[in-house]
């Protein structure tokens, strides 16, 4: 087994090892107070920043496992973020936005994005659209219609400041050291993300449907022979990926954020692309994808930690850490064994 093969199979171990090594090197070389960098607060912020990435990554890996590369995650996240903010604002009407409104708005965003992905799925599966180009188109459409929708509603590309989902304290469990604050005294969306991650792993690797998904991407002919409709499985996973991207976007705007921001490349700001790298890095394993998202989330939040220990870099530079991390990850452990039938439309013989 060559080094490359080994690295590919143990990508998380290798990548995590490299990250740890880099962290230790930085701490010793630059004489940083390591204890101040690794605080519970840092872990909490990283976890929050990782949520939207992880949610989109899990959706994306389901689609790709089944043979459809949903490169439009970023675009669907923009629609999710806008829809959630718009729904919360419209549902509440003149009165102030309640917690119930917010949860309903998140649901609306998930459903809306699922519906949008139905159109995307029909184009890529039935009409055999080029998956990469169609996915890029979704991003452009999001970049256009996201700020457009905001302008129609609010007269500017961003929404007014909106409330977000309250933290939930689970009595008893919240008293636990470290874990209590990370999981049981925080946004309920953190717990939801963890539950969805584990569920996604169980469904993919421990259920019959999960095997169908894998077969649709690896060997669609065999699945077809076994009497399962390949394209039906693919429709389901692509629509699921849209729903997850919608949830990810909603998490950004009304889950942990304070409304929709439509300036520049919108508040999604590349997280959908990072999500794709997260699941590649996690080798299409939902738990791996979650851990990779955590790494990117930590990079995103590094700026705050560096400030607390007295290192002040301009925001324009620290904001680039996640993107640089993505490049390093892709270059060092970029080789991924992509499911065999990704990108190819499947046409059954029986027609």
């Amino acid at each position: 087994m060559s080094v490359a093969d080994y690295a590919a199979e143990h990508r998380l171990a290798v990548g995590g090892g490299l990250a740890a090594l880099a962290a230790v090197a930085a701490i010793t070389l630059l004489d940083l107070p390591g204890a101040d960098l690794l605080t519970v607060g840092a872990a909490e912020r990283s976890l929050q920043a990782a949520m939207p990435i992880a949610l989109a990554a899990i959706g994306g890996l389901y689609a790709e496992k089944s043979g459809v590369f949903n490169i439009g995650l970023e675009g669907f996240m923009i629609f999710g973020a806008l829809t959630a903010a718009a729904a919360a604002w419209l549902i509440s009407g003149e009165s102030s936005i309640t917690q119930g409104d917010l949860w309903l708005a998140i649901l609306v965003a998930v459903v809306f994005c699922a519906l949008l992905t139905v159109a995307f799925a029909v184009l890529t599966i039935r009409y055999k659209a080029d998956q990469i180009v169609a996915g890029l188109a979704v991003w452009f459409i999001g970049l256009g219609f996201g700020p457009f929708g905001a302008t129609v509603l609010w007269g500017g590309v961003s929404s007014p400041t909106l409330p977000n989902v309250n933290d939930v304290v689970i009595p008893g469990l919240a008293e636990l050291p470290v874990l209590g604050r990370l999981l049981f005294d925080t946004s309920p969306l953190v717990l939801l993300t963890l539950v969805l991650t584990v569920l996604a792993w169980v469904v993919l690797y421990r259920t019959r449907y999960g095997y169908w998904i894998q077969a649709a991407g690896e060997n669609p002919e065999a699945l077809d022979t076994a009497g399962v409709d390949v394209n039906r499985v693919r429709y389901a996973t692509v629509i699921f990926s849209g729903a997850m991207a919608g949830l990810a976007g909603a998490t950004l705007s009304v889950g942990i954020g304070s409304g929709f921001t439509g300036t520049g490349v919108t508040m999604v700001d590349g997280r959908g692309w990072i999500a794709i790298v997260a699941y590649l890095f996690g080798n299409y394993n939902p738990i791996g994808a979650f851990l990779a998202s955590l790494l990117f989330g930590a990079m995103d939040m590094l700026q705050i930690q560096l400030q607390t220990v007295g290192i002040s870099l301009p925001g324009s530079i620290t904001g680039l850490f996640p993107y640089v991390a993505v490049l390093v990850v892709l270059t060092l452990v970029g080789y991924t064994r992509v499911p065999a039938a990704v990108g190819e439309a499947y046409e059954t013989e029986s027609e």
Partner: protein, 358 residues
Amino acid sequence: MLRASVLERFALAVVSTLLALLIGSVIVWATGYDAVEFVTSLLYGAVGNLSNVAFTLRQSTMLILTGVAVAVAFRAGVFNIGVQGQFVVGGFATALTILFLAPLLPGGPVGGVVLMVLGTITAIVAGGAYGALPGLMKAYADANEVITTIMLNFIASGVVYFLIDAYLRPSGTSAPNTESFPDYVDLPGFAFGSGSFSVIGLGVALATALGVYVVMARTSFGYDLVTSGYQESAAAYSGVDPKRTVVTTMTFSGMVAGVAGAMFAIMVLGYYSDPSTFPSFGFDAIAVSLLAANNPLGVIPAGLLFGGLDAGGQYIGFTLDVPSELVDGVIGLIVLFVAAPELFRMSARRFGLGGDDR
């Protein structure tokens, strides 16, 4: 990618554009604006008077250059989504060259021409180098170029902003702009009398498109590049090194994007600024190139069309209060439809039109 006959490609481009505009009009109407006024204003904004035409041609110049950059890569089967970043880096190199060499060289028209030529050459080098980077990452580390180039776009924009803000901003100003280039570093406006459009710039764009077409159609490098796009295994069998082709393709594509950056710095801005405020030519260029079936000559009419759409979109933003982002969405829809030729083939068969194309 997206193979079809020339006539079919042309029909696809026209139908996709019309359908996207129709959907755009419906959205305009559904959100409470006047759809007819939207379309007529779009037209007026594009070609209604001389200064609107100048604006359209200025946007077209940029879209033809960036469109050719995209076409080079897509033709070879490499998804260079990083034209925006390569264009930003190229333009920055031009600005650095002009600002640092201007005090050393004599002023006047001769000095101006020398500075512009040198600035363009450094832009080509810088754009090519920034394009080579994801090419190397793809060839030797299997890193997906769609994602690396998008990340490099963010990084180019952030780093250039930082450098301008920290080192090139004249003291006492707050906007992240460099000093203006000397007066003599500018392309003449001629009949259009526009400060930001010159026929020479459009000429550079047309010459680049033609030059790249000749390279792709008439040289062995171009042949290798196009064969790799059609079938990598066949290209490899005939002795083409696929890894090297990826790197050279990305470098070539980045070089063309560098020309676009130079034109943007010299012709449009006359200084350099925060790249996040720049128009997203590098992304619209993807639509331009796809509409042109990734043919460098086809990029010319596609670039003119999109230049008009862009100019019209900004015009309606000012006059009708219809957010100009709408046009970005319409461009996205065009890309989506162009990606799905089957959609039109199937519906054409269903309605009994052109059913004999198979």
